[in-house]
Symmetry: C2
Subunit: 157 residues, 2 copies
């Protein structure tokens, strides 16, 4: 895919961020056959980026395949890992997706719900760019950490 190769450049500074490193780790974790072993990190994270043009080519209604589902999982597992690193408490993600690509994803820390998101059109899961993806992750992370800070007693339960 020559057009997709342009989506993330190899020298993108975002690739050096903790978030991108964690996402690469998540993707490698589900790469059973070691396909990514000699790939550049920009290529590993490429499927997360869906530009407007690419999105337009995907039908509005559709069932997500296993690969997209795994990618959605990887993203939220990555967020959970980053929450865990920041607050030092175990963060557990839980996804519930129907085969039609609708569902809900939550992350809990102790008895506290630190993230709660409704998912729609999962077959079109992706971000306009890598930095937009990082922005989204940072937003989720900061909201989660704020809730944990306010209700640390419940998070520690």
């Amino acid at each position: 895919m020559s057009e997709a190769a342009l989506v993330i450049t190899e020298d993108d500074p975002v690739l050096e961020s903790d978030f991108a490193i964690e996402m690469v780790r998540q993707m490698r974790a589900i790469d059973t056959y070691g396909t990514y072993d000699d790939w550049h990190v920009s290529k590993i994270l490429e499927p997360f980026v869906l530009t407007k043009e690419m999105k337009r080519e995907i039908p509005i209604v559709g069932d997500p395949d296993e690969i997209v589902m795994a990618r959605v999982k990887a993203f939220y597992h990555g967020i959970a890992t980053m929450i865990e690193k920041e607050c030092g408490l175990m963060a557990v993600p839980l996804l519930n997706l129907s085969h039609e690509g609708f569902g809900r994803v939550i992350i809990t820390v102790g008895k506290l719900l630190v993230m709660d998101k409704t998912l729609r059109d999962v077959h079109r899961f992706g971000f306009p760019s890598l930095s937009k993806m990082k922005d989204e992750a940072d937003k989720l992370l900061s909201v989660a950490l704020e809730i944990i800070g306010k209700h640390s007693d419940v998070a520690g339960m």
Copy 2:
């Protein structure tokens, strides 16, 4: 199933409890074709009861079918509804089951996790008797209400 007919008697006092009434409502909600319409409530709740003898006949390893999955869902949705009735706040259940019958079920009220249970061997889901089933539900309910009482600020978020 003549042997199964003995599992819950028609005059079982538990059938009059709020819990049993709610469970019947949950079962009717998933009864798309109105099969249960002229069934006695004892027959509707029968599949929830698995005596030791019945359990022994089910293989230890097995994949749960859609019907068992729906029953597990009905049980925890019933619990969520009862929590909601008691505390006046919306309780949302979330189930994540693998096709092998392992998973996790949670119920959240606001930002508070009021129930968190790991599920195993879902293909053998059932209770030794109707009153044991009610005991389990009552236990989950009282634990949930206790947490809500203690952390009503988080539950109200």
